[in-house]
């Protein structure tokens, strides 16, 4: 069109000048807009022309009357808001909030329409003059003229707080209206919501719950109180979701938590007949879970529960391990421990959300009391022995694993792991040699577990024992493959070759074997040494067993299962009808204590007395004479005589084991001292003790007195010396 011919700058300039000529232009235009604003507030907008108003506002800004337009808007809107404020003030009682709400929605609608008309100003004039945009301005004016007016501000707050109080006491209130009013405060800005509502609301709530919690605690037991507190907490969370700002949730729940839980924490936990200990005793999972979930919300809440639980477990655990009745039966002793552990495991998983810190507390408590009884390592080994001998018959593989895992768990608590190892080795040796072990897999599985727990060194000897068993089998096959034909008619020999060092050491004198056996043994010896050069074999006759076929005077034939010693004794009676104790001792050279026990089991046990003793009495004395019991009868063809069962050690045996353990520890302590000193060169006494203890704690708890003795011994042997200047310092001598 024509614009192509004109200069574009010129066009705008000309338009401007024309307006400036009419001085009333701005006033007239503003009157039109002011009238429109009045009409909008009076719900009378239908007669207005949007296009005209928009254009008028546009023109005012274009012609530099933006300032006039803006200040006119402020005063007109203020006028209307003051009128609204009066009408809200005049509302009576319950209609107050409704009036406020209806005026608020009127204002919002009007504000939107005014903003529509003044859109151009909002977009161009306001940013460039850094004024408040129309919508925000409308909210600010509402805040200053209505919400913060003298006669409304306090009344509004009191009304809201009273409604909330009524809802707390069980009344139903108009939540929709509440939501609108609170939303209004939020729309007016975070500071209005906080100052005019949230802060007083939190204060009032704190007072309310302070009083209520006092009432509750006086008339309910712990479980009930927690139920009530939980319900209150949920109510407040629900209230926030219905008509408060989401950000208030943390604040109001904090108030409830502080007033209802944190302030009464100790009273609740220690409440007579219903507190935490009672809940633990009665396995009240639900109550415990509730307590956990509520207490975790407050500072120190969980540590309070944990401390009480820990001391309870320690006390009851201590009672258990120091109870002399329980100590009588090791298997039962360990079963009680496992039961206790299962109980608390269940509590922690069902009620305490598998909380790691609780698991740790449980572990440390067990560690504490299990080690109170110095026989715990022995009992745990005996428990395993019992399970692996017979307890696992017919049990599924997974269940075996489960039991073994539990044993391992107890094992972990032991401080004196080396003592356990000692006993375990003894018990395992007996199981292996007597062929009593139920499941090779289970045995190996436990060894693997010990290995992962304590490392290769801990189990290398135990594994050596298994290897020996296997090798011996092969050796025997080889032996019979070579000599099978010529030995076919004689007795059968089964030799288990045990590596010295791998097995529990038992110094013993070899007894005199019957000549048939002796020849066979010699044959085996020459076979074995012929295939393995540089080895030495010595016979552990105290550990063997033998199966004998015996024909008694009445022609009855029996198969007797006896120990090697017993076999030697019985074989003597092939050549004599009766023998005296001295004759037997001389012929066999069995150590007298062993011989007495062996004769006792052959002659004095009712139903298994294959020998007859003169005189008849319970105890064996050196003057006794023995002869074959011709009248021996038994319902079974196979008779098992005098097996030695691994049992709880007697007091002197225990002392002996203890001594052996102490002996074994000495080199370990010394090795640790030397390792440490080699790297540190100079160290004071306390630090050595600390480091040695740390290095050895995976195996046992080193006694500082013992460490000191070892240091002395190393000084004597010139591994270390005391510093000349400072006597507390030790120096490593390379």
């Amino acid at each position: 069109m024509s614009s192509g011919q004109k200069k574009r700058n010129f066009q705008i300039e000309a338009f401007k000048h024309k307006v400036v000529v009419d001085p009333k232009y701005a006033e007239k235009t503003w009157k039109v807009l002011e009238h429109a604003i009045h009409e909008i507030y009076n719900h009378n907008a239908s007669g207005l022309s949007f296009e005209e108003l928009y254009r008028n506002a546009y023109n005012m800004v274009l012609h530099k009357y933006g300032e006039k337009l803006y200040s006119g808007l402020v005063s007109t809107m203020t006028f209307h808001l003051q009128t609204m404020s009066k009408s809200i003030e005049a509302a009576h009682g319950g209609s107050f909030l409704e009036e406020l709400n209806s005026k608020w929605s009127d204002h919002n609608k009007a504000l939107q329409m005014i903003r529509d008309i003044l859109m151009y100003m909002d977009r161009t004039f306001i940013p460039s003059t850094r004024k408040t945009p129309v919508h925000e301005l409308g909210l600010n004016l509402w805040r200053d003229n209505v919400v913060h007016s003298d006669k409304i501000q306090t009344r509004l707050l009191n009304t809201i707080l009273e409604l909330i109080l009524r809802e707390r006491t069980g009344e139903v209130i108009n939540r929709g209206l509440m939501r609108n009013i609170i939303k209004m405060l939020m729309d007016l800005g975070a500071s209005v919501y906080q100052e005019d509502f949230e802060k007083p609301f939190l204060d009032v709530s704190a007072d309310f719950y302070r009083v209520e919690s006092q009432e509750f605690i006086e008339c309910s037991d712990c479980g009930d109180y927690l139920k009530k507190a939980e319900r209150r907490l949920n109510e407040e969370i629900e209230r926030v979701s219905h008509y408060l700002d989401v950000k208030s949730e943390a604040k109001i729940t904090n108030v409830v938590e502080k007033e209802m839980i944190a302030n009464h924490m100790l009273g609740l936990v220690h409440m007579e007949n219903s507190g935490l200990v009672k809940m633990l005793l009665d396995d009240k999972f639900e109550d415990l879970g509730r307590m956990y979930n509520l207490f975790r919300r407050v500072p120190n809440g969980l540590s309070t529960i944990r401390d009480v639980m820990t001391s309870h477990i320690r006390d009851t655990g201590k009672q258990l391990v120091t109870d002399p009745e329980k100590s009588k039966n090791p298997v039962e002793f360990v079963e009680c421990l496992l039961e206790k552990r299962d109980k608390y495991d269940k509590i922690i998983s069902l009620a305490f959300g598998n909380d790691k810190t609780f698991q740790n507390a449980l572990n440390s408590s067990f560690e504490y009391f299990i080690n109170l009884n110095p026989r715990s390592p022995e009992y745990i080994s005996l428990f395993v022995d019992d399970k692996l001998r017979k307890g696992l018959k017919g049990v599924k593989e997974e269940d075996i694993e489960l039991i073994l895992d539990k044993v391992m768990m107890l094992f972990r608590y032991l401080q004196e792991k080396d003592v356990f190892e000692k006993y375990y080795k003894q018990h395992l040796a007996k199981r292996l040699l007597s062929g009593k072990t139920v499941s090779d897999d289970a045995e190996r599985s436990l060894i693997v577990k010990l290995k992962t727990e304590c490392g290769y060194q801990f189990t290398s000897k135990l594994e050596g024992m298994f290897t020996d068993m296997k090798t011996s089998q092969d050796t025997m096959q080889g032996f019979y493959a070579t000599y099978g034909a010529e030995l076919a008619n004689g007795p059968t020999l089964v030799v288990q070759v045990l590596t010295t060092g791998s097995w529990p050491t038992q110094s013993s004198v070899t007894c005199n074997l019957p000549s048939e056996m002796l020849a066979l043994c010699e044959k085996f010896r020459s076979y074995y040494l012929g295939t393995h050069t540089g080895r030495r074999l010595s016979w552990q006759t105290n550990m063997g067993t033998a199966d004998l076929r015996a024909t008694f005077g009445n022609g009855q034939k029996y198969e007797l299962n006896v120990s090697t010693y017993q076999m030697c004794v019985l074989m003597l009676f092939n050549g004599a009808d009766s023998l005296s104790y001295r004759e037997i001792e001389q012929a066999t050279e069995i150590p007298s204590s062993d011989l007495k026990r062996c004769l006792q089991s052959l002659a004095c046990v009712k139903g298994k007395n294959v020998l007859r003793k003169e005189p008849m009495s319970k105890d064996i004395v050196e003057d006794d004479g023995f002869s074959v019991n011709d009248k021996f009868t038994s319902k079974l063809r196979k008779v098992k005589i005098g097996t030695v069962v691994a049992q709880k050690e007697s007091e002197p045996e225990k002392q002996e084991t203890r001594q052996r353990v102490e002996e074994d520890r000495k080199p370990q302590i010394e090795a640790a001292i030397v390792r440490i000193m080699k790297s540190r060169r100079v160290l004071d006494h306390n630090n050595i003790i600390a480091e040695v203890t740390k290095q050895l704690q995976s195996r046992f708890l080193a006694n500082p007195g013992e460490i000191k003795k070892r240091i002395e011994s190393l000084i004597e042997r010139d591994f270390l010396e005391r510093d000349n200047a400072d006597r507390r310092l030790y120096r490593y001598l390379a």
Binding site: M1, F50, M113, M119, P127, S128
Partner: protein, 442 residues
């Protein structure tokens, strides 16, 4: 029937238009059409009885209506762009118009949109892209401001002192730094209204409770409304000042350590992730180059520092510009032959790894060279050299595009922002606007 109901009639400046409420809805609530047909106003758009009169230019309305209909902008030659912008502003369609003119910035697809002739007497100092597609150009003591439609706003100056740097504080404010005038409180730094050119307030520097005059150098902002400025005071009061951008109050000052340079920096850059400021002072402002990272929570020492002081320096090892690349944990530098070098930010004072292209460039230096500048935008690295800007992409910074406009001579500065690249030429006093076209419809 449905079609009938949807129809809307307009009379714009005497010409009749018919469209649909659906088309108008594209304009959005925040436009004249959105407001007009809001239920508040009780105007039934389908009231076929009368048409809606709008007292505006019908030709422009036709263009804008088509923009709403198709999403594409076609401006007939007989309509001045300036007029169209004004009309779009009236209808509240400026954002639509802008979006139709250029799309998201990509160094490999930009094209030259236009060249704007400048009016300054001397060489250009700096050009800075604004957040909304506008820019400001500093020449000598004046800064000229252009909005996104390249409409020029009133120019600004700080006591007519030579401007050293400028930065957009927000879409409507610019901070300038200028030389001080001896003996008066002139120069320094000030915040201006970008549309009116008015000085809002000055940023003062206080040493020992005394306000001191100073020369403002390189500037930078962070997202916490902090303004950083390199300051050169009268008596050894050199360093980097920090101000609150909203109140204009000084909040901190990092004094220059001995043997280093902070107060005469060429470039400041805020590193969001590391929460520290890169300060680079380069040849030829000083004889040596100093690049350091400052953490204002610990003013005892610099967290990272590099300098070529003491090293034998040839021109091919002299750093002319530096930029920190947080994603790569490195600082990229450039020499006067546009070789890029890299330093690891995780090791202080680490070695420079140069990537040499010098043999190709050496023979071709123009008589009056401009030193290379660097910029980084969304993983693309830009460097200017003579009249060309190179674009590098990928983890190995492969050269992927070259932007060149043969008119105007060497590029003395360039800047990327508001999805546009502005390049200021030194000789002809002209700047180019590069932008990416909106994605094609088909």
């Amino acid at each position: 029937m449905g079609v009938q109901k949807d129809r809307v009639k307009f009379n714009v400046g005497g010409r009749h238009f018919e469209t649909t409420a659906t088309t108008l809805a594209i304009a959005g609530r925040n436009s004249l059409f959105g407001a007009m047909f809001d239920e508040n106003w009780d105007l039934d758009p389908t009231a076929a009885a009368d048409e809606h009169f709008i007292d505006r230019n019908p030709d422009c309305f036709a263009v804008l209506l088509d923009l709403l209909r198709t999403g594409e902008l076609y401006i007939p030659p007989n309509i001045p762009e300036r007029l169209l912008h004004r009309e779009a502003l009236f209808y509240g369609l400026s954002d639509h118009l802008r979006a139709a003119k250029w799309g998201p910035f990509d160094g490999n697809t930009v094209r030259l949109s236009r060249s704007i002739p400048g009016r300054a007497p001397g060489d250009g100092t700096a050009i800075r892209a604004g957040p909304d597609g506008g820019c400001c150009v500093a020449h000598g003591s004046m800064v000229h401001v252009y909005d996104w439609a390249m409409e020029e706003h009133p120019p600004m100056n700080l006591d007519y002192q030579r401007v050293n740097d400028a930065v957009w504080a927000d879409s409507n404010s610019i901070v300038l730094s200028a030389c001080e005038r001896l003996g008066r409180d002139d120069g320094g730094m000030g915040l201006f209204n970008a549309s009116t050119g008015e000085l809002k307030y000055k940023f003062h520097v206080t040493h020992d409770d005394q306000v001191k005059s100073f020369t403002g150098g390189a500037l930078s902002l962070n997202s916490d409304y902090r303004l950083f400025g390199s300051c050169r005071g009268r008596s050894n009061e050199y360093g980097v000042g920090v101000w609150d951008q909203l109140s204009g109050k000084q909040v901190d000052f990092f004094y220059e350590p001995p043997g280093w340079s902070l107060g005469e920096a060429d470039k400041l850059q805020w590193l969001h992730g590391a929460n520290c400021l890169m300060v680079a002072t380069l040849f030829p402002r000083k004889d040596n180059c100093y690049i350091s990272l400052l953490d204002f929570r610990d003013k005892e020492r610099m967290v990272w520092a590099w300098s070529d002081a003491g090293a034998p320096v040839g021109d091919e090892r002299r750093v002319r510009d530096a930029i920190a690349m947080e994603e790569c944990g490195s600082i990229c530098v450039v020499n006067e032959y546009e070789d890029l070098g890299f330093m690891d930010l995780r090791r202080s004072g680490g070695a420079m790894r140069w990537r040499s292209r010098s043999p190709l460039m050496k023979g071709k230096m123009p008589d009056e060279p401009c030193y290379p500048k660097l910029a980084l935008h969304q993983g693309q690295l830009f460097s200017s050299m003579n009249d060309t800007i190179s674009v590098f992409c990928g983890p190995d910074w492969v050269l992927t595009s070259r932007l060149r406009n043969s008119y105007g001579g060497s590029i003395c500065d360039f800047s990327i922002g508001g999805d546009r690249l502005f390049a200021l030429h030194s000789e002809e006093n002209v700047f180019d606007v590069w932008e990416t076209r909106p994605p094609p419809i088909m």
